[in-house]
Every structure is written in C-alpha cells, then in structure tokens.
Amino acid sequence: MDVLRDQNWLLSLGTFLPLAGVLIIMFLPKRDEALTKQVAVITAGATLAVGIYTLMQFNYDETSKLQFFTSHDWIKPIRATYSIGLDGISLPMYILSMLITFLCVVYSMDHVPNPGNPKAFFSLILILQVGMAGTFIAQDLILFFVFFEIVLLPMYFLIGVWGGENRQYASLKFFLYTMFGSALMLVAFIALFIVTKGNSAEGGSFAFAWFMEHGPQVGKTAALWIFAGMFVGFAVKVPMFPFHTWLPDAHTQAPTVGSVILAAILLKLGTYGFIRIAIPFLPQAAIKWAPAIGVLAAIGIIYGALGCLAQRDTKRLIAFSSVAHMGFVMLGISSLTPLGVNAAIFGMVAHGLITGMLFFVAGSIKERYHTLEISRLSGILKQMPHLGWIAGFCAMASLGLPGLAGFWGEFPAILSAWSPAQVLRDNGHWSLFKVITVVAALGTVFAAAYLLWLFQRICMGEPNPEFLDAAHRSNHAPAHSLSAAANDDHHDEVRIYDVNGYEWASWAPLLILIVVLGVYPQLLFKIFDAPVTQLFGIFGK
C-alpha cells in the first residue's frame, strides 16, 4: 500500500491524547467530582477535535493510500515496529470511536452509575479510548495486538465494578473468553511471522506492509491453520456463532456507557481484523474459509433473532440483536467482494450508531424505572413521549428501514451474498451462497418481528399501574450515594422524566448521523470504496 508521509504526528496525538487527561485526573482529589467530569469532557472533546482536524486534513482523493504514516523501530529483537497510518478503511471507525467516547462522557456527566467514583470511571473510559483508536491505526501486528488487548482491562473493570447484579460473572467471562481468543490469535501472528521470515535476508518484520507482500506466498496448509487461529481470535470478538455467549451477559451487566462502547466499537475490532489482517494477508486461506464464515454468519443472523424473541430483559434483547447485526457484517465479508465488504464497513458504522443509541435509551429507561423487564414496562410513549419516539426511531433504524443508516449495512450485504466473488463461484459454492442469501433475507423479517414487538410491549399501550404515580417528579437523575447498594431495583424511588439536556446533547449527533447517512450514504461509501476495491479486487468480481 502506498503511503503519504505528512503530519505523521497527528495520529499519535489523537490516539494518546486521552492519556494526558488520565494523568491530570489521577492528581485530582477524589471528592472533587465536578472538576473530574470537566477534565474528562475537555479531554474527550479535545480528542474529538483532533479527530475532526484529521478528517479535514484527510485527502479524499487518495483514500486507498495510507495517510499520516509513520514507522519507527520499536522492539528490535523481534522486529516489531511502531507503524501507524490511516486509510479509507480505518478512518470511519477511528473517528467513530472518538465520537462515541465523547458522547459517553457527556452522558455520564449526569449518570455515573453505582457505586460512583467518577475519577476511576472516567479514567477507564479514556484509557479504553486509547486502545480503540490505536487498534484502528496500527500497521504492525504486535502494535495491533497490544492495542487490541489494552481495551480488555478497562472494560473488565467497568463491568465488574459499575455493572449490574451479576457483574462479577459477566466481567470475568468477557475477559477470559476474549483473552482465550486473543491467545490463539497471537500464536497465529507469531506463526505467520516465522513462516514469512523463512529465509528472507531482512529477517522478517511484523509490519502490515511486510505481510501484505509475503503473506499470500505462505503454503496452503500453514495458511489454513494460521487463518484458523486468527479466525478464533476475531470471531470471539465479533461475536460470531458459536462464540457469542459472552456477549449477552457482558452487555446486560455492563453500565450504560460500557454497553454503548462495547456495542459501538469493541465488536468492530473483530470485523476490522478480518478485513484488515486475516483476509488480505492470507487470501488463499480466506477463499477456503469463506463458505464456513458465510454459513456461520447466516446462522448468527437467525439465531440472534430467535434469541431476541425469547428474551424478557430489554438489554439482553438488544445484545442478541447485536449478534444478528454482526451476522450481516460477516455475511458481507464472507462474500469476498468489494460490494460486500463495503456493506460490512458501512454496517459497522451504522450498527455502532444505532445500537449505541439503543443502549443509551435502555440505560435511560433503567435510570428512571429501575427495571428493564419487558413485562413490567409499558406505555413509555405516553409517559415520556420523546424517549418513546426515539426508541421507535432506533427500532426502525435497527430493522434496516431504507432512508436510515442500517439499510446500507444490510441490503448490499444481501446483494453481495447472492453474487459472491468469482473464485467462490468457481469453487462450487454458489448454491450455498444463494441459500445463505434467502436465509439472510428471512433475518430481516425476524428483525422487524423482535424489534417492533419490543416496541409494542414497552412503548405502546397504557403505562404500567405500578409506575403511574411516579411521573414528572424531577428533571434530573437523583444524586447517587457512594454506598454500593449495587443495582437493587427497588432501592431508589422511581422518577419518570422525559429526555433531559445531557441526554439530548449526547444523542442528537447520533440521531442526526443515522438520518444523514441513511439518506446520503455516499458520504461514507466514497471514503472506503477505493481501498476496499483495491484490497478485495483480487478475488474477482
């Protein structure tokens, strides 16, 4: 991949700036919560500003080149380099991570969950941001792995300390499961390094550029096994069936912003890994694996939808819907066509916006009613009309209504599934992909079913008599004491109030983006179409 070397400090700045904020927060007294929040907001905002500056400086005519590229030797003995760069494929997720972090910080200014301690809470979110941004700009496998793992620890603590009733189990499961996958992934990385190092004079390297050149020449059996290792690592993250069981627990038990970040960005680390690393480095293995990935994606779409229909908890339902949506993303990837991968990347952004919003809404419902049990919720449209309509809007976006962003992640994926890459057709997999296409189309029906059924049960109809007398007592969330009364549903009194200022501030950008990207998708497609076409054109149309 060609590179553009200018302003090559920009990406490092954008990635590590949150650490500056963490440093400052570390020295603030624990009691001064307001100051902590302000520092956190300013840091997140500054990071986002750097991101927007990056957006403006980005050369949109050269999206297939790596921009803001820089490369230094890092760990000489293992030939790991500090290489970072930004191209059209990385850009959307890089900016999205900064945006989501900023919005989460704004949202949390009002809503730090039990047991409080904003100092630790915001520090962890900022560290998480470093990890997320770094993963998308890394151009070296070891660097990628480091950033990939950095996100695990803050998330573990976010879930384990600020989470729901079953948080210990959920956070541990999340950590161990993902780490297990990453362990296999690391083995695969090292194996790839050794195999490509071979007898080369330079002694090999962990840089992406090296693997792009030498990866395709790896022998067939080795390539298959290495791909398998990477597959497990990324598949656990996506999450693909059957490696998905950590997701519902993690999402349900996590605090609101934890769920939002997890859904919006962390899941995409897996799919990004497929698009950036697994498939371009080992194309022959990718061809062999594509049908299996396609089948698992289709199963995930239906299985996730069925799981949704069986749920009694709102957040858990949204979690299963993530499995279904990521199924569409993987479906697009498995077709090995530019059309499909474009759909996948668009779907990654769209899912981040939409499901992030859904989790925000769920969090706000929890904040007011202290429950997310579907059977106990009803008539939200009546008690909080704005929140209800936003929930309906998000439901429509999530089921893929054209005119909203979700459609462009699903529809081109279905198109690409029917017409997979020429090499796949030549290998006799076309009928399989046709069946997968129909199954995926069935998935859209299921999506409408579970989302609208949820909407009908919790938003339509009359409010639950249990909550009828709690309406409109105050405009803000009640102040939280530091005592860890955990997440007892009946601890605080139920206060029903419609969407407040902080929530509007943190949600408006997402809502606007969902509509804008839905109506004019070219805004996104033109960013990553060229690099994707270049990367995936090798598989034939």
């Binding site: 069925l306 069986a310 079913a449 339509m460 179409d529």
Partner: protein
C-alpha cells in the same frame, strides 16, 4: 433501436431538452416537497395555527400542481414521448456508481397525479374527520410522509430507490394503522400489517439481488430494455427473480395468501383506510409488476401460447374469488370495503397475468377514485351518522334520507365498482375480463365473471344494510322527533319505526345521543362529490366502446405495446355476460337483503341461527306466496351462506391461525433453543471448562495437608522410587 437507452438519451439531449418541459425535468420535486413538508410538520407543526394541516395540504397541492403540469407536458410530447430520466450519484461500491433519480413516463405520471390528487382530497377530508384527535399533528405528518414515500417509489429510477419508497410507505402504514396505539387491538393490527408485508419484502430483497446479479444494474430502464431484447441471460434466473419480486407484491397488495392484514388494517382512522389501504399504497404491488413488466412477462411465461396458467394470474384469480365471498359475511362496513379492495386488487393482478397491461393499470386509476370515495363515505356515515360505529347491523340503516350527499356519492361509486355500464368500472374491469377471454385465458375469464356477480351482490347487501331499511342503534336516534326538526324528514320509509322496533334495537344506546344522523360538513362532502364525479367520468379516458383510447396512448410504453397482445375490439355482445351477471347479482342480493334485514317479518330472519334443514322444511309447508322466491332462496342461500361462512372460518381459523401460530411457535422454539442450546449446551461448555479446571484443582488439593511429616514422607518416598529406577536403569 433498443440498444443502451442511457447512451441514447445522452446523445440526444438537445432534442429531448426542447421536447421535455420544465415540469418533466423537475418532476422529482413532486416527491421532495411532501418530504420537506413532513419535516416541517414534525418539528414545527404543533406551533402552527392549523397544527400542521396547512403544511400538509399545501405540500400536496404543490405536488398536484407539479404533476398536472408534467402530465400536460407529457401529453404534449405526443407519440415521440420517451421516458425522462435524471440521476444523481447516491452511493458507490466496488467502483460502480449507483444513483437516485427520476424515471418519468406515462405510468409514473399517472400514478403521480393520482397519488397527489387523492392525497390532497384525503388530507382536506381529514381536517374535519380527525379534528380534536389526540395526535392531530402526528397524523398529518405521517400522511404527508406516506405521500412522499409513494411518490418517491412511483418516480423511482432504480430498484433501490423503489425499495426506499416502498418501505417508507410501510413505515407510515404502521404508524397510521396504529395511530390510536393505546388500545392493544390497534397496535396488533399495525404490527400484523408491517410483518405480513415484511415477509413479502424478503422477495423484494432477494429479487433485486438476483436482478443485480444478472444485469449488474438497478436501473429500471436498463433492466426492462435488456429483458425485452432477450438473450444473454438465464431464463431460470429471470424466473427466480420474477417469483421473488412477485412474493413482495403478494404481501403489499394483499393477494392470497398474504391478504389477512388488510381487513385488520381497518383499525386505523378512515382517511388512512381510504388513502393507503384502498387507492394508493396497496396498489404498489400492482405498480411494481406493471413497472418492470418485461421481467414478469418473460420470466413467468405470460401470453405464451399453450400456457393456460401463470403464477400472477392464478394468485390474482384466487384472490378475486375468496375475498368476494368473504365480503358477504362482514358486519363492519369497512371490512366489506377492505375485502372488496382485496378482490379488486386480485382483478388488477389477474389482468397483468393475462397480458392486459393497459386494462389493469387503467383499473388502478378508476378503482382509486371509486374505492376512495366509498371509504370516505363510510367515514362520513360513521362521523355523523352512526356515531363512530362501523357496525352495519347494529348501528346503521335507513340513512339515505338523512345523509343524501353521502348516499348519492356512495351509489355512484358502487355502480362504478360493480361495473355498471357507462360508469368507470365498466370500462376498466370489464376490459380485464374481456382481455382474459381474448388472450385465451378462459379460466380467468370465468373467474372475472363470477367476481362481477359477487361484487354486485355483496355491495348490494352492504348498501341495503347501511342506507335502506330500518334505522338501528345509533342511526335510530331521534326518530321520535323529541325536539329535533329532523323528525319531519322521516317519511314513508320509516313508517315501520314504531316504539317497539326502536326499543328493540336500542340496547346499546340507552341514552340519547348528542346529534341525529345528518350529512357531514363541506370538508367531508366536497371530496366525496369530486371523487364520485370522477368515478363516473374517469372511465371515458379509455372507453373502447366509444373508440376512445387516450389513456392507452398516454400511459402504455412502447415496450409494453410490443410485448402484449392488442387490446380486444369492444363488442357489446362480449360485454353481455358480465352485464347480465351484474344485474343478476343486484337483483338476487337485493331480494335476499330485503328479506333478511328488512323490517317485514320473514322466515329467513335468523335462519343462520337455526338449522337450515329445518328452515327448508318449514318453508315447504309455508304460504304459497313465497313458493317461487323460496325456491331461489333455498338453493341460492343454502349454497351461498354456509360456504361463505365456511370460507371465512378457514380464513380466520386456518390461514390466519397459521400466521399467528408461526409467530407463537417462533417465540416458543426461540425460547427452547435459547434455554437448551444456548444456555445449557453452548454456554454449558464454556462454564463446564471453568468447572473442570476448578474440580481438577480441588482434587489435587488433598495432597496439600499442611503437615510437614506428610511432606517429608512424600519426599523420601519419591526419592526412594527415583533411586530404585536409577538402579534398575543402570544395571
């Protein structure tokens, strides 16, 4: 000539630019203005003086004016009219650019002006009808968005844009059917509508994917031309695409077996029923078939010699019959009209299935007017006649004198619907029947004729129940003329309305109602009059009987003309069977209705509650006066009524129950899969590995007793064993 159309148009921009006028070039505004109107109503509607209604009506009028201008310019183009296609880049992928734009030809223009016209009238009607509604502004916002969606779909240049419009309509349908979502029945109906259509939409997605895979384009123009040229593509693949796309049409246009949502959709306010679920949205499926007709015509072997049946005609034909039969046993006036709509949509599909493209599209045109009028009449009746009730048996009757305008417009529209000669329906529906015969689709000719008979019959029944006979329930309020001047209007028709009869029906309304039945305000009646007039007159745009073929010239594309057989030459003798059946249907139904629902005592009253065999036996010994009609009634009734009831039973208990049980079964199997497979098996493996690790650790713990002596013992024991091994190995 039919090479690459886009290149052709690019080559002759000068010629086309002169010929195509401003309205044609900017026809995309027709869809954009209501969209902007929707946004305005959504954000500012509540603060406006008319709460958003003015914005809605204004945007629809603007669309109407633009459509009229475009139609005028199109007609001006005459015989050399080519589609006016404009595109902008919308998205790109894999290096290919995909567009958003307009494809304006006769068909699109017909639909554009039809939709904007009917939308305008319905919005005006709604100002009165939903006055004081709890969500007045939202209602108008949804109506406007719906129009924007349908207009987008109609002028869509490519399949993706068509899908956009299609789904926006579905969204608005959901919002409008469930407008009063506080009541569970309404939200259930809204969901049922959305889901049933969504099931059909699977076909839309897959079909578009297949077409894209075949032709690498979404452009409707390119697809039509390439298919029409023939060759270079796989026939079976085209058939797959056609079947898949038709499944979507089955869902959207309420064809068998996905018709069950339409009658339930009547839960929405009447303007919604009249706009979406009769004249505009539900014809979207028919429109889609008409729009990419070459795909269906070639893919499903329509008009191929020797093929008596094809998928579209069969489904259409079945729909015509089953819906018409079901219309007989409805007590709710809107449900009668709903089944009637389903039946008429079946006619349109059947027409397309037998190759009668112009007739079917013309039927879309005329049907919109009279069906919309019928629904608005029903709304008018409920608004000021039966006090918001739609139950014909319980709350209507004898309203023709009290609501003259509504009554006359209803009668005119009914005549059009039944296909009475010289009304619009005669020229459109009978054209379909005629074409079926001319194109050698004899079975469907018969189906069409039977449908004509049934249509007249059930409409007569509904008319009788609503406007004739004795006033019942809410319609019977104020018969005694307590202090109301209306009492004077009750002439001979109500002479039977004695105290007893009134009291017998007054069970539900034990208190007097605030007003007596009267005709509605001008906001309601003026649209009725306009639509009724059109129901009479619109047929003359394409009346083969009088050698007028304007509609055909203006709307039917050259491509279609070359594909389908010529329209049959009109002969009165060919039309005779259907006219006869219409007359027969009217007479038979009127007689039965009078007997069963009239105020005179009749042994037929309540016969469904008693054994029909007993009733027949009873009649045999009855008064001679009844012998002739009795004979007719025994045969006709004992065949028609049980069968109709049976058909409805199958519809509700078998088909709809299957739909419901799929939903319930899906939920239950989802629960089972979740509990057993996911939680026990898959998650069990994960948890199991953790447990295995800790159990292993637990069992090894026994060796750590904490006792130094034991440690020593183990130490020396191990050393001894080691020494032994060493000795043995080294000796």
């Amino acid at each position: 000539m039919l090479g690459f159309p886009l290149i052709r148009y690019a080559e002759e921009p000068a010629a086309a630019a002169h010929a195509a006028g401003w309205f044609l070039d900017h026809a995309w505004l027709i869809a954009l203005i209501p969209a902007i109107g929707f946004a305005i109503i959504l954000f500012f509607g509540k603060k406006l003086p008319f709460k958003g209604a003015e914005v809605g009506i204004a945007s629809m009028v603007a669309s109407l004016v633009l459509s009229a201008g475009a139609v005028y310019q199109w007609i001006d183009l005459g015989h050399d009219a080519h589609p006016v296609i404009k595109t902008w880049t919308w998205w790109q992928s894999g290096g290919m650019q995909f567009t958003l734009g307009q494809h304006i030809d006769g068909l699109a223009l017909m639909a554009l002006i039809l939709v904007s016209f009917i939308s305008t009238l319905v919005q005006i009607y709604s100002v009165e009808y939903v006055r004081d509604d709890r969500r007045f502004t939202h209602f108008f916002a949804s109506l406007t968005l719906f129009s924007a969606g349908m207009l987008t779909m109609v002028l869509a240049e490519n399949m993706v844009q068509l899908i956009l419009g299609w789904e926006i309509m579905g969204l608005c349908s959901f919002m409008l059917i469930g407008h009063w979502w506080e009541e569970k029945a309404n939200s259930n109906a809204a969901l049922k509508a959305f889901w049933t259509v969504r099931v059909g939409d699977m076909g839309l997605l897959v079909g578009t994917a297949v077409l894209f895979g075949m032709f690498h384009t979404f452009s409707i123009d390119k697809i039509n031309n390439t298919v029409a040229e023939g060759g270079g593509f796989s026939k079976s693949m085209l058939m797959t695409a056609a079947i898949a796309l038709f499944i979507a049409c089955i869902g959207k246009s309420g064809q068998f077996p996905l018709h069950t949502w339409l009658p339930d959709a009547m839960a929405g306010p009447t303007p919604v029923s009249s706009l979406l679920h009769s004249s505009t949205m539900v014809v979207a499926g028919v429109f889609l078939v008409a729009r990419i007709y070459p795909v269906f015509h070639t893919g499903l072997d329509i008009n191929v010699a020797g093929q008596q049946f094809n998928l579209i005609a069969v489904i259409g034909g079945i729909t015509v019959l089953i819906a018409a039969v079901l219309a007989f046993v409805q007590n709710d006036i809107k449900k009668v009209l709903a089944y009637s709509t389903v039946s008429q949509l079946g006619y349109m599909m059947m027409g397309l299935g037998v190759g009668a493209w112009t007739a079917a599209v013309f039927h879309i045109f005329t049907h919109a007017f009279f069906k919309c009028c019928l629904f608005l009449c029903a709304g008018s009746v409920s608004h000021t006649g039966s006090h918001h009730s739609f139950d014909m048996k319980a709350d209507m009757g004898g309203l023709r004198k009290k609501m003259p305008v509504t009554f006359i417009t209803w009668m005119l529209s009914t005549a059009a619907l039944c296909g009475v000669p010289f009304f619009s329906g005669f020229f459109s529906k009978d054209e379909i029947i005629d074409s079926a015969h001319a194109n050698h689709y004899t079975v469907f000719w018969v189906v069409g004729l039977i449908g004509a008979f049934l249509t007249t019959a059930y409409m007569t029944r509904a008319t009788y129940l609503t406007f004739f006979g004795q006033a019942r329930g809410a319609a019977a309020h104020f018969v005694h003329g307590d202090d109301h001047a209306d009492a004077d209007h009750h002439g001979a028709a109500d002479s039977h309305a004695t105290d007893d009869a009134h009291g017998a029906h007054d069970v539900k309304h034990s208190r007097p109602l605030p007003f007596a039945p009267h005709d509605s305000g001008w906001l309601i009646t003026v649209p009725l009059i306009i639509l009724a007039a059109l129901a009479v007159v619109s047929g003359y745009l394409n009346a083969p009987a009088f050698h007028i073929e304007k509609f055909h010239h203006w709307v039917t594309p050259h491509l279609i003309n070359e594909m389908v057989p010529e329209a049959p030459v009109f002969k009165w003798v060919n039309a005779l069977p259907s006219i006869a059946l219409v007359a027969l249907g009217f007479i038979v139904s009127l007689a039965i209705s009078k007997a069963v629902f009239g105020s005179e005592p009749s042994p037929l009253k309540g016969l469904t509650k008693r054994n029909s065999l007993l009733g027949a036996g009873h009649r045999f010994v009855a008064n001679k006066y009844y012998l002739d009609d009795l004979y007719e009634k025994v045969i006709v009734r004992s065949i028609a009524h049980p069968i109709a009831q049976g058909a409805y039973w199958i519809n509700q208990r078998v088909i709809d129950a299957t739909v419901n049980s799929v939903g319930i079964g899906g939920r239950k199997s989802a629960g089972w899969v979740y509990r057993n497979v996911d939680q026990r098996m898959v998650d069990g493996v994960v948890n199991g590995s953790g447990i295995a690790a800790s159990e292993a650790g637990e069992s090894l713990r026994a060796s750590q007793s904490g006792k130094v002596n034991q440690y020593g013992a183990l130490l020396f024991g191990a050393a001894a064993v080691g020494a032994l091994v060493l000795v043995i190995v080294n000796s």
